[in-house]
């Protein structure tokens, strides 16, 4: 199985070689998508973890046993209207019509609640007006 997780850790936990253990002891494929550690050594890691079901469950239990707060990653799509040039290239790729062209004005709009965060729009926007944001809480 494969999942994206956010791991919030404190200064004491950041001293631990967590990634090394996940690879060595649990045979997990680890992909670090984003990481941030402040000068006090607190911070978060956004991980994609892949492995068989047992190793995955044990690996996640191991991180939690260290006191690291583990949460599934929530992602949001952000459409920056001020960067968008209204070319319309994204709309035909959006499966839920969250990005939609109003056919009289030919203007694009984005309805957040319709978005299923498939990410199809990210590749086809030539101004990169559409971005994927990870939702990260304040420091734990």
């Amino acid at each position: 199985m494969k999942n994206k997780l956010v791991c919030y850790f404190s200064a004491a936990q950041s001293e631990q070689p967590i990634i090394y253990r996940l690879v060595k002891n649990y045979d997990l494929i680890v992909n670090i998508l984003k990481a941030d550690i402040n000068p006090q050594k607190e911070g978060y890691l956004v991980l994609e973890l892949e492995g068989d079901k047992n190793s995955y469950t044990e690996g996640v239990a191991f991180i939690k046993s260290l006191g690291v707060v583990v949460e599934p990653l929530s992602e949001t799509i952000v459409w920056q209207s001020e960067v968008c040039i209204q070319c319309g290239a994204c709309a035909s790729f959006c499966p839920t019509e969250a990005l939609n062209i109003e056919r009289n004005s030919m203007e694009i709009s984005f309805i957040d609640s319709k978005c299923v965060i498939c990410g199809m729009c990210l590749d086809c926007c030539p101004t990169r007006a559409i971005q994927l944001h990870f939702e990260i809480k304040g420091a734990v």
Binding site: Q86, G88, A89, S92, E107, C124
Partner: protein, 412 residues
Amino acid sequence: MAVKKSYEEINEKIKRGEAVVVTAEEVIEIAAEKGYAKAAKEIDVVTTGTFGAMCSSGAFINFGHSNPRIKMKKVWLNGVEAYSGIAAVDAYIGAAQLPDNDPENKVFPGRFSYGGGHVIHDLVARKEIRLEAVGYGTDCYPNQKVDTIITLDDVNDAFLFNPRNAYQNYNCAINLGDKVLYTYMGILKPKVGNASYSSAGQLSPLMNDPYYRTIGVGTRIFLGGGIGYVAWNGTQHHPNVSRGENGVPQTGAGTLSLIGDLKQMDPNWLVGLSFIGYGATMAVGIGIPIPILDEEMLRYTAVKDEDIFCPLVDYNEGYPYSKPMDLGLVNYKDLKSGKILFNGKEVVTTSQSSYPRARRIAEILKEWIQRGQFELTRPVANIPSADDDIIFKSIPERKPGVTYFNGGNRRD
């Protein structure tokens, strides 16, 4: 009696604030309501607009001299190389140029996040730009290296000079293959999963003057948010193609070469673009005013999306390998509706050219003319039209012999 107006008469009206100016969208309804003859009498100017990716764009810059002076052999702006095989501190930054260390398509499809078009946008936005240059040193130009920060206000001259813009019509791209294609027409889904088009249709400048009667060398235009001029016909200008009864070409035809002072342009109308798997380029905003000299010009400007056709072209094999395929024509009204029919199957359309921005440009140009800020110009020379014998060429395949080594024609 048939209406005739001269450029001088129209400009007099503009000066007095009495000119009747409408956009290329508005003229359609007026013509339908009043008829061509009456509309031609009433309307003096029709404004057009287009805003889309135009790779054949770039800017000439003169940086001024360093002390000691340098003859730049190579020059980079934010890591993107500009061509410097001209005078000492002159260079040309092209919109499609990539940074030397860009990963390109090594990991396919590449991202192409920054290129020459982004540099030009950043210059116009008055952002700080890193300027690096190297030279080999001469008696008159001893300096061999420059590494500094500049803005657009620091350079002597910067003018946009785009060799090919404002394509008169273009292909509608589809993918007959069974894998995704990453092209300059955007992402093309396999098995004709979408149809990608790139023209403002009824608003596009050359659609409204199909035989270039009023658009020629010297025509004053809206360019990148400022004022520019038509410098010449564009590269690949190919006017003698099949045309509809309204004179509008049914495939890519005429093009324009445009020039204008970058320092008076606006970053909203020159925007760097990244086409995944293809490269970097720039969206250029262009608006051209068309004087209604007579009823014929009014008829041309009243052209509607449903009467403008473009060819469906396969980008799996047809375009890249120049395989002739007749896949039919499609009109811009259908393209803009979001769906077209291909072989009885409904296909979603993907727009690459910004129609809302094209409309805005036509409106801005209209306001400039109405306020008396912008007068029309008669072309100082015409560009070749449909009856000129222009042949579209390809690179010849010949075997260079030893005498052609290093370009031939040695001077020892």
